[in-house]
């Protein structure tokens, strides 16, 4: 469960995030949708505690993100934008390294790594060094790494960037499985179809502000649009960012 209220963050004179507020519930997939530079990544970065907000509050499972970043990080799994893995380590070692830093060790760690390798279908290349992996293989390992401590909440920043059709489908299937398991999934994307295909709730952001939020149905009704795409265009005032 993620709650964001009045979140603002500037970089110099640029207000990247300007009073963003939304909620992402458990067992639901929430999409942050907006054109490039809308403030999606900054919002996520504040949530996964690498940036501090100028004002506003955010909490994850009731833990204040700003007040207790360590506790926050324990209950989130993160796939940052353009996340990469260690090229000289194998997939198993990449996952185990993060597991160890989460405090897992011994048989419990081995078991967890093994189950992730199975769950994400990494087995075929799990013992090979990561330097030769395809983008899709890398993303899967990065995702397994983010899931190693079985976090309740998942923050994914443009997870399908650079993936081919098959890899994208596999990732979607995985996200749906995680939703079924009761996880709270917040992911950002600038790809309309992506969000439309997956999300239970959509938060449309533009120029650092939330311009509309709700289920796909509610958004279509609110903007009296036939399609989600029309609703998006109506919400942000033009067709920027549509692909």
């Amino acid at each position: 469960m993620i709650r964001v209220e009045g979140l603002s963050r500037s970089f110099g004179a640029v207000r990247a995030v300007d009073g963003v507020a939304f909620e992402a519930g458990d067992g639901r997939i929430t999409g942050l949708l907006g054109p490039n530079g809308a403030g999606k990544s900054t919002t996520l970065r504040v949530l996964y505690t690498v940036l501090r907000p100028d004002s506003g509050t955010a909490s994850i499972d009731g833990v204040d993100v700003v007040g207790d970043p360590l506790a926050t990080r324990r209950c989130i799994g993160v796939l940052p934008h353009g996340a990469n893995i260690y090229p000289q380590l194998t997939a198993r070692e990449n996952i185990a390294y993060f597991g160890r830093l989460h405090g897992l060790e011994g048989a419990a760690l081995d078991e967890r790594v093994e189950s992730l390798v199975g769950e994400l279908d990494i087995g075929g290349y799990a013992n090979r060094r990561a330097k030769g992996y395809s983008q899709g293989e890398r993303i899967k390992v990065a995702l397994a790494r983010a899931l190693v401590h079985a976090p309740k909440n998942l923050l994914l920043d443009e997870p399908t960037n650079g993936l081919d059709v098959m890899a994208t489908r596999a990732l979607r299937a995985l996200i749906l499985r995680l939703r079924a398991a009761g996880h709270c999934i917040l992911f950002s994307s600038h790809v309309m179809q992506e969000v439309a295909a997956l999300c239970d709730d959509i938060v449309i952001v533009d120029k650092g502000r939330v311009v509309a939020a709700g289920t796909p149905g509610a958004l279509k009704a609110q903007f009296k649009s036939e399609t989600l795409e029309d609703a998006f265009v109506a919400a942000i005032g033009d067709a920027r960012g549509l692909e």
Binding site: R73, P80, A83, E93, L101
Partner: protein, 393 residues
């Protein structure tokens, strides 16, 4: 904190050890090949100077019949005399064919002038632009001067004059340096080779773990883990330090072995670099590894890419030479206060160990403590830098 540090350190070391290019650069070229190369050059230089002192020089004498005693004296003074006949034009042609040839021409009037007690001239032909001919010429000149001085004093004695009267001033060379100290002067560069190889050992890891990790895009994920950021960077510094210590052990051993190949004894020198000294050099330089690892990490933290870090760290490698260079130029004698300057203290300790001089234990302690204090301060600074949001670039 300890477990985070250990986990990060192990992972960084494992990654570095798997990268063959890193291994070759960090642990082979710096610590093993560089000293070998250095010693090889030194050996060549030594071999050249040995040969000029001991080797007999060849000389060709033309018209030797005019001065048989003189030629015999040259032979006795260690010259390889060969006899040949020809005109001046022939002599010039011979030297044209064989550049390092030195030819002595004895004029027909030599014997007559010699017997009359007048200066008897011989002509020495040699190619002044040829360094070998120059060396041979000097040996010939030396032999003739020796013979000339001997005959001169015999003549004075025959006239009842003491030969010492023509030597108003004489020079006695008294070299007070011990054999080891002389070698150390020449091998003074070695302490820098050791310090540099130590630095090089950790260079790649320091860059890869900071600027490299950021450039590859794995840093942000790492920072979302429930660990204190400073502990991550301390682990990286620890890994760099370990690589530097391995490199230091290798370079000290390699120097010890390569020195055995030097003909130092020919010069009455000994280089004190046995196993006992290797061990002490390791202990003396080890604390410096922490300073070096922390400096490299701090500098690499400011840079955005591997390339940028590399160019900055190239400059950082010069920093430890500055105190050493200043101390050598000003010819500063080792003393306790200098032990507070990292790199200079290591240089002086290595020099002292190689000279076989007794070093005060307090000096080693001062050097160690000052390095540890500075190293920990820099590590703390690196930790502070990692707290900044800007670290994500």
């Amino acid at each position: 904190m300890i477990s985070t540090l250990r986990i990060v350190m192990q992972k960084e070391l494992r990654e570095s050890l798997r990268d063959r290019r890193t291994l070759v650069n960090s642990l082979l070229i710096g610590p093993v090949v560089a000293p070998l190369f250095f010693i090889l050059i030194l050996k060549l230089a030594l071999a050249r100077s040995v040969s000029t002192e001991d080797e007999s020089a060849p000389v060709t004498v033309v018209n030797a019949l005019a001065a048989p005693n003189f030629v015999q004296q040259l032979r006795e003074r260690g010259l390889e005399v060969s006899l040949r006949e020809g005109s001046e034009a022939d002599i010039r042609r011979w030297i044209g064919d064989q550049k390092d040839l030195v030819v002595l021409y004895v004029p027909p009037a030599f014997g007559e002038r010699f017997t009359e007690g007048k200066p008897a001239a011989v002509q020495m032909y040699a190619d002044g632009s040829n360094s070998e001919a120059g060396k041979h010429g000097a040996r010939v000149r030396q032999a003739i001067a020796g013979y000339s001085a001997l005959v001169g004093s015999l003549r004075l004695q025959a006239r009842g004059v003491s030969p010492t009267i023509v030597q108003p001033v004489v020079i006695d060379d008294i070299d007070v340096s011990t054999p080891s100290a002389r070698a150390t002067l020449m091998l003074g560069m070695l302490s820098y080779v050791i310090l540099l190889a130590t630095l090089m050992g950790g260079l790649h890891l320091a860059i890869d773990a900071t600027a490299g990790e950021r450039e590859r895009g794995s840093l942000e994920s790492l920072l979302t883990l429930p660990v204190v950021r400073e502990h991550l960077i301390y682990g990286k510094i620890a890994a760099t330090t370990v690589m530097m210590l391995v490199s230091l052990a290798l370079v000290a051993t390699s120097v010890s072995f390569s020195l055995k190949a030097l003909p130092l004894e020919t010069f009455g020198m000994t280089a004190n670099f046995g196993p006992g000294v290797v061990w002490r050099v390791f202990l003396a330089v080890a604390p410096f590894a922490l300073v070096a690892a922390s400096i490299l990490t701090v500098v690499a933290s400011f840079t955005r890419t591997y390339k940028e870090a590399q160019s900055w760290l190239g400059l950082v490698l010069i920093v430890p030479t500055v105190p050493i260079a200043i101390a050598s130029v000003l010819d500063i004698a080792p003393r306790a206060t200098l032990m507070l300057v990292p790199s200079l203290s290591q240089h002086l300790l290595i020099q002292g160990l190689m000279r076989g001089e007794p070093l005060p234990v307090a000096w080693a302690l001062l050097a160690t403590v000052s390095c540890l204090v500075l190293g920990l301060a820099l590590a703390w600074l690196a930790g502070r830098l990692y707290r900044r949001e800007a670290i994500l670039g």
